[in-house]
Symmetry: C2
């Protein structure tokens, strides 16, 4: 293996929403299906964006202590009520809302995700490191065919990223030095937080996460250990 | 599905040592290999039994508060020193001891385990629920090809089985009633503890766990929800 980083890394820890799965088009597709069934006229792209926009603020309420530890399923369900009101959507009973809330368990992977993970799994331990709760990540993996070796979550430490406990979890559990663990993410803030705690960082470009024409800019050269265009490119750069 | 239990159960949680993997013959085989390499004359069957015999007392030291939370890898490593002395084995350096200690990450599955789990996985969420630490269970799965949907451990709750926290973990994480979770184990004490907390219980007979001629007796009829002769039989009784 020519890449000295690849030679020293043992575990790849993946951010999930946006990095492994395409939350936006998955929520839109299920929204459109729900709209057809229930005869609703809704801009589901705007709905998906609005629901996701309250994600970070809801995690922050937990991290600031305004809420006790609350798993993401419950935060999503609380914010769903708010967004349904905002879009004047009525006529859904609790079972229908609960089912729609679990769309986050059924998010679709990016086209390269499964093949890339299968490839990376031959050489590294691959685990989630997500704010999604353990059952959400387990059901998503089962639904989508994501071949994780291990499911790790903010729920393991009852703190949401970017709390230090989340990044330190992986080296602690696996008895590794932080630099033997690499976070893989499409978001620079996540990668920079991981780097603060000594983890390696691989940026993967997901230009369609927020819809067409809204791609994040590519990071400056040298800012992260690796910059990859998708998981297959990541595997190739890691010498597989 | 004819079986009403199978229809209501969502998650199967598996005890691992002895139930999924054959710890005894795996430790014996690696011991014999080590013996050949280092020129040691040791009764490795007796060694494996002695090492395992201090497993439960070492967990109890943690549960009684004599030790702070200590992961199983570390308990195994402490007891390895003790057993090496008992068997008058000298001349192993720390790296060799550390490697041998990780034989618990490399235990071999029973012949039916992989096929049975693959089958059960088509209908149920399958997870570990073991006193083994998360990295041990992850490495074991990767090494042996065990297709878990999720790795759950005493380490998640920092209490060893039979602490209530361990059995309650699975319904808590998956938002299920206890009776929607079934523990699968080869040990009656584990199953009875699970039943106390409302979980379903499936006994799987592993007559060779402690070596030839030392099979546990079959449980009385009706004591558990299911009694199976192996994981394929379990799948069949679960209507798959």
């Amino acid at each position: 293996m020519n890449n000295p980083i690849a030679a020293s890394v043992e575990v790849l820890a993946f951010d999930v929403f946006g990095t492994v799965v395409d939350w936006r088009s998955s929520v839109i597709a299920e929204g459109e299906q729900l709209g057809r069934t229930k005869g609703l006229k809704v801009d589901w792209s705007a709905f998906a964006d609005a629901w996701r926009a309250v994600y970070r603020p809801s995690l922050d309420r937990v991290q600031k202590g305004e809420l006790p530890w609350t798993k993401l399923d419950v935060l999503h369900r609380m914010s769903l009520e708010e967004i349904l009101k905002k879009f004047k959507i009525e006529g859904l009973n609790d079972d229908e809302k609960d089912h729609f809330n679990r769309v986050w368990h059924r998010l679709k992977p990016w086209p390269d995700s499964i093949a890339g993970l299968q490839c990376l799994k031959t050489r590294f331990v691959i685990t989630t490191l997500s704010n999604g709760n353990i059952s959400l990540l387990t059901n998503m993996a089962k639904h989508a065919g994501l071949p994780w070796d291990c499911i790790l979550s903010a729920e393991n430490v009852q703190h949401y990223k970017p709390a230090p406990e989340t990044y330190c979890l992986v080296p602690d559990l696996f008895d590794l030095k932080p630099e033997q663990v690499m976070l893989v993410a499409a978001h620079e803030n996540d990668l920079q937080s991981a780097q603060k705690h000594g983890l390696r960082a691989a940026f993967v470009h997901r230009p369609l996460e927020h819809g067409p024409g809204k791609a994040a800019s590519m990071p400056a050269a040298g800012k992260y250990d690796l910059v990859a265009k998708d998981f297959l490119d990541l595997a190739s750069q890691m010498g597989i």
